[in-house]
Symmetry: C3
């Protein structure tokens, strides 16, 4: 049988992405279904991530499945020296699907190669986080009515930001124009600029973050400058306050502009933005529920036809 694991969104064709978004739309119409009745899903969070875990666990529970797992590896057999392979083999005996987060890049790929059941990558180090990308795409499509020909501004930590890298790659199918707004220390890495060139993705780089620069944005994708990425905390303190979106910066922006953020935020979006109708980050998080229900069903072999009501 085909292993239907989802390790990276880069493996998905344009058609597959649009298909999953259509599935997510069905789940937004009705997220409560009994389609996973009798299924056990393991959420293995070797690295904690409450938001992602709760979103996936809600997705499973609303579909009638049951959840087992752990939210922190410190008390697991891994700490007794067990290999990832053995842990995955063990859990494969119990569950029908493993959703895993790991601090090591490549962990999800490896797990998908040894496991007899599907794996969903819920984040592997700085590498991939495909369900986040699916909910970003769903949020863009829903708010803009299309994924095609959009001006997408990525702001903040473009060097370590896993979500912006994945979004960039997934958007290659849809003729976007990207604007990269970041301080020098956190610039978009060369490899992704090469990727853009190879895939005919237009991009412009900025180091300023001003009202004028974002005037023609359709999507403003803000990211958190994560303390844990810095070895020099002085540098972090200097940088973290530079790229802050404030409500008055939004006055001249397009009416269709929507502001996204993978959350959690620290201070990169001022609280006065929350009441602006262009703020969309909390609804975006809600879309994660539907996008994840679509992903879960897909890796388990449940089709759009199965869920249409």
């Amino acid at each position: 049988m085909e292993n239907r694991s989802l390790v990276t969104i880069a493996e998905h064709s344009k058609e597959k992405i649009l298909y999953l978004l259509e599935m997510a739309k069905q789940f937004e119409n009705n997220p409560n279904r009994k389609i996973l009745d009798g299924k056990v899903v393991a959420t293995l969070f070797f690295e904690p991530s409450t938001r992602t875990r709760l979103s996936f666990e809600t997705a499973v529970n609303r579909l009638g499945g049951r959840v087992i797992g752990f939210s922190d590896a410190s008390t697991t057999s891994s700490s007794k020296g067990e290999t990832l392979k053995d842990t995955i083999m063990m859990v494969s005996n119990y569950a029908d699907l493993i959703i895993m987060r790991h601090h090591l890049e490549g962990a999800a790929r490896y797990a998908s190669e040894v496991a007899p059941i599907p794996i969903i990558n819920a984040g592997d180090g700085a590498n991939q986080h495909p369900s986040q990308t699916m909910l970003d795409l769903y949020s863009i499509q829903k708010t803009q009515g299309t994924l095609e020909n959009l001006n997408i501004f990525l702001v903040g930590d473009l060097k370590y930001g896993r979500t912006v890298h994945s979004l960039l790659m997934a958007m290659r199918h849809f003729n976007p124009t990207f604007h990269f707004i970041a301080p020098d220390e956190l610039k978009m890495p060369e490899e992704y600029k090469i990727y853009c060139n190879e895939n005919n993705i237009k991009y412009v780089e900025h180091t300023d973050f001003t009202e004028d620069i974002i005037a023609d944005a359709d999507i403003l994708y803000m990211t958190r400058v994560q303390r844990e990425r810095f070895t020099d905390l002085m540098e972090y303190e200097r940088v973290k306050n530079v790229y802050i979106l404030r409500n008055k910066m939004l006055e001249k922006t397009r009416p269709n502009l929507r502001i996204l953020h993978p959350l959690p935020r620290v201070n990169e979006i001022a609280y006065d933005v929350d009441d602006n109708e262009k703020a969309y980050y909390f609804q975006q998080a809600r879309n994660g529920l539907f996008a994840r229900q679509a992903i879960i069903c897909d890796v388990l072999g449940i089709t759009l036809d199965d869920i249409k009501e």
Copy 2:
């Protein structure tokens, strides 16, 4: 829509309290119902409390709902600097109800003001713990046949004891006589004595804890002298052994006397009391299941009529 959150029992009228107690009684008759089928309840314990969490989670599970959440905030986004508002907004996307415990007073109130879904306060610092009060009231009503005109003795830590303060306020509707038995260091605070005076609640203060003093008690409410409340551990060591209830102290007490304790106890009730038929603290804990089922249903808009069989 009206926000039906439960932040403090002080907001409830006498009628509302009696209504919830009647609901709890229905659940004691049958705690297993499918009335929350399709609902997801988030238990967010920013501060650990196994007892309260397990009681709430049992309540949800026996009603057919599903539980997501965390039992300890140390691995959540809060530790990455996320605000309470953002955490609550995020979880509101997934769950139909949030049950939260937090170390800060006022946290539940604040959450109820920002959340689009109901909040149940499962304890906010030294402030409120309304579901504990409801199970205390249910236990008193069940064992005494009434809530009216009772002699209620509160023993131990009356200064920091959240449960005794809430019980005192909730009893204002029922013409109680309170006896406050505490060492000087842990006396009932002035503000609550003023509250008693303003609400025509009779009270007597004692510093001794003897057989004679408790002779006419209907309810003896013991509390734990919590080490974590003391800055001076020497003081704690001196005080903790003073207010211990022993079985021989119960000989001359009323037949209808019942001993309550919010649990966990350390040593303030000697183990030889456990087999005395006046000991009621374990059954009291069991009543928490029914009281919490009533509270959960009420905040979700499920009425007594909906659950009557």
Copy 3:
């Protein structure tokens, strides 16, 4: 009512063991049933054990029951000084069954004496772990077609290894021949050799672990040399690499030989053994699901007749 707790497999007769194995077989045919609908099972892991916990929780979920509990006692009331009795009494108010793991020997026995609901011992210190023994027996019976007259080789840490002690006692009904293979520091304790003599169990002791010695084994039961058992870490480092099973050692073994291991392993089975058809440890872990479903049903009074389809 009879307390149906499972504290140790030593209490079970031959007939009871064979009955539970027959039940497990029924669950292997179909592990997904609604037989625990409306039941709440508490998994109280005072000591972490992810594998055992996930196995039990899967067993409950696939039978339609609901799970509450904790995976680590560090944030529970135990850390506030609550006694085990009080914790057990509290949880008994909520759950229909307690599955508990504790670092203290005798904890499960004590819990079964105070609790009004059944207890399943999921490991108490170095003492007992009966569900592990049931899955070992199930794995032996399934792979050998019988439990009678087998050559069983126990390898590694026979001094502290709880699983080998329990297996040895459970096999007394089935006329086994045991081979104990261990370094001097980790030899089978005298008390178990006396037990063998008293129960007419044949055994041979070895300090070498070679191809020749295991030539007539039906079951090779490998165990982990656990670092946490050693006070002298130098001694651990010396011993841990001595008893390693490698694929080339299996060439002259019997065709029916199967290799068991309670898992997690560290390095006592080389990875090249995993693809050998005699490796059975991952399937063994899977059998844990069915064995535990049988145990759970049995302590709850559900019979083989109830589950036969």
